[in-house]
Symmetry: C2
Subunit: 408 residues, 2 copies
């Protein structure tokens, strides 16, 4: 072996091993080729090619750096990588549309997330998939490993556990913690809705919104839309509109019931859609075109189930002025990658100790403003590849954190 070259060689060799017969099974799908051997690597920022390098990177030089941090803990922000590394933490219980597939099967998704952190925000990110689904154990584990990281991106953890896990970690840890399935989605939905309102010529706060789904994303979207000034929101779960008369509500849904449904709906999602300006689908399942037909003139349909939207996009287009989905092959893709890289980058740049509601609202506005005056019915959010977005989001989030004073 002779250093990196040979190291890479060995990695290459290893990736080749075990193929042969097996390769045939996966050869037709390029996704498997992209995942061969995993999608990440950890590399030193400087090579070690001399005894002098070794004596600076490792002992005895490193002892002087460790001693300095022991004496002045804030020096860890400058002389370790931790403040610039995000842990992407999942227990594998709610992975994409696949459900509870466990930590090993969730790992490719977390690796992908880490790739996006690097690609769009220049941040290092490490996937941490957990062999437990117990709330107390997850909180204890993430708390224990927190000194290793500058931020915690919770991912693909099922509701309602995700609410408690995030809330407890936010309370315990002095670094940014965000459950992306909630807040990443909410930020991008709000950004898209800002521009959709502009396209249909309506003030955001006047829109009457129906949210289909009261899971992680449904709850977070409802909250951010309330914070953005939308007063008339009805939220439906699989049993119909969430209202204060229901006795089957979790604490989170009790909060929803108390803070939404000004109009007093008590029936089904489809009942509530009649006359609504916005349908926000976050539930999966199927909503018939006939329900969209009952919505208000110039309505907005965000149907985000992936890969099969709740409302068929072609049918939705017959009735709606703006249609958005989660699909990359259609216009107006609501993709979390527009939010999380810049949100964490901004929080980390500012030395933020938390990601506040105001920082999320600032992120949504920044995403919307990248589109700005160019907004039209098939362009309410930027492309997920638009390199301007993460920088704009990071700047807005960092400015907000500094203004709020939630920084180290």
């Amino acid at each position: 072996m002779s250093g990196d070259q040979e190291g890479n060689q060995q990695r290459g060799d290893q990736r080749m091993s075990g193929q042969g017969e097996a390769a045939d099974r996966f050869a037709d799908d390029p996704a498997f080729a992209v995942h061969e051997g995993g999608k990440l690597e950890v590399r030193p920022t400087r090579r070690i090619t001399s005894i002098a390098d070794l004596a600076l990177t490792y002992t005895p030089g490193v002892a002087r750096v460790s001693s300095a941090i022991a004496a002045e803990p804030e020096l860890a922000r400058r002389f370790t990588w931790a403040p610039r590394v995000v842990a992407v933490v999942s227990d594998g219980t709610a992975v994409l549309g696949l459900g509870d597939i466990g930590p090993a099967a969730a790992l490719p998704v977390m690796e992908g997330k880490a790739c996006l952190f690097s690609e769009f925000a220049g941040l290092s990110a490490v996937p941490i998939v957990l062999a437990t689904t117990d709330v107390d154990e997850i909180v204890a584990t993430v708390t224990a490993l927190a000194p290793s990281f500058g931020g915690i991106n919770l991912e693909d953890i099922s509701a309602p556990r995700c609410f408690e896990i995030e809330a407890r970690l936010r309370e315990r840890l002095g670094i940014p913690v965000m459950h992306d399935d909630q807040h990443g989605t909410a930020i991008v939905v709000l950004a898209a809705l800002r521009n959709a309102a502009r396209v249909v010529g309506r003030p955001l706060g006047d829109l009457r919104v129906v949210v289909g789904g009261a899971g992680a994303a449904g709850v977070a979207c409802t909250k951010i839309l309330l914070e953005a000034g939308i007063g008339d929101i009805a939220v439906a779960d699989s049993r119909g509109v969430v209202h204060t008369g229901r006795e089957d509500l979790t604490p989170t849904k009790q909060w929803i019931a108390a803070n939404t449904n000004r109009a007093g709906h008590a029936g089904s999602l489809i009942d509530a859609m009649a006359g609504a300006d916005v349908y926000l689908g976050l539930s999966g399942g199927s909503v018939p075109g006939s329900a969209v037909a009952t919505m208000a003139e110039g309505c907005i349909v965000f149907s985000l189930a992936n890969p099969i939207p709740e409302v068929d996009p072609e049918v939705a287009a017959k009735y709606a002025a703006v249609v958005a989905t989660g699909r990359s092959d259609l216009p107006n893709q609501i993709n979390n990658v527009l939010a999380f890289p810049g949100v964490f980058r901004g929080a980390i740049d500012a030395g933020a100790t938390a990601i506040t509601e105001e920082m999320k609202l600032a992120a949504a506005t920044a995403i919307a403003d990248v589109v700005g005056d160019e907004a039209r019915s098939d362009y309410v959010v930027p492309s997920p590849l638009d390199r301007r977005v993460a920088a704009a989001v990071a700047e807005a989030v960092a400015a907000c954190a500094r203004e709020q004073g939630v920084t180290v």
Copy 2:
């Protein structure tokens, strides 16, 4: 921002921030410059520059890979990075010679270790420093995050907790677990002693050894020397030779008492050194030259405290045929980097479920054999930069694992 270039630019900018006045304080010591911004980064193995890339690395393509792993868990070995990533885990309680300095101050050491894994074995490694020193919590935390990694390198955890933590994790986890302060040191000490015995023309098993120190390294060195066939070993802690008549012994030291001290020493370390062939210093503190003068003709002194060896190396050289230290500025540096990269690389290459005693012995022999016939008094171990070592160790360890059948 425009991808990696801008990402790196931002990283660069960030590293610059906070310097100015502060830079002056650390400008005289190049170790701080090497640590500015940390020493590691996580990078994707492939760029994401198109919607097609995004659809393969992330949704929807990644869902097919995750589904395949959910159906056939062993596919995680091929399609995730986990099998090739080592977690370098520390609670910061016994860091170098600095003692209990906590997780943040320990991090530069763990980052350095991760650099060495990459540099010498082409393995990715992630530092995990823990906000707990409780044995149960450490075991629970590492168990919870184990599906994210292919091996666990425990580091700088104080004795006697390190023994229980390692033993419990080895029992629980089906991946290689090794406390490097114990076994990395032991492997390199055995390698060096094999060649030192050759230099002085003695069979290894005939040597009479005195070990100064019964902490993590002292215990592990004693065990590996016993396994290598050395029958006459006396181990001393700060209260003198460990023997069965003492009533102050921890369970680990009770084991030492029961399995060493054939000669029945009951006095001090210095008493036991009289007539001994080998002194192995792993305790820190100071041992006078007069004690070395009482050792046998052609004796061997390994004095590994760093940066100040227990026996002054110049004094030791007056009496000893072979002198080794932990220092990089003297010949015969006993440096763990000769062992751990190759040990983990070999274990991972073979798909080993554990690092067995036999694999450690094979590693020691492989290190010794890199020196082989060239052994002389000032060359009993290879240079820590010798690129042949990790490859030789990996090959020997992998072969041993396969032979023992401790593989997935």
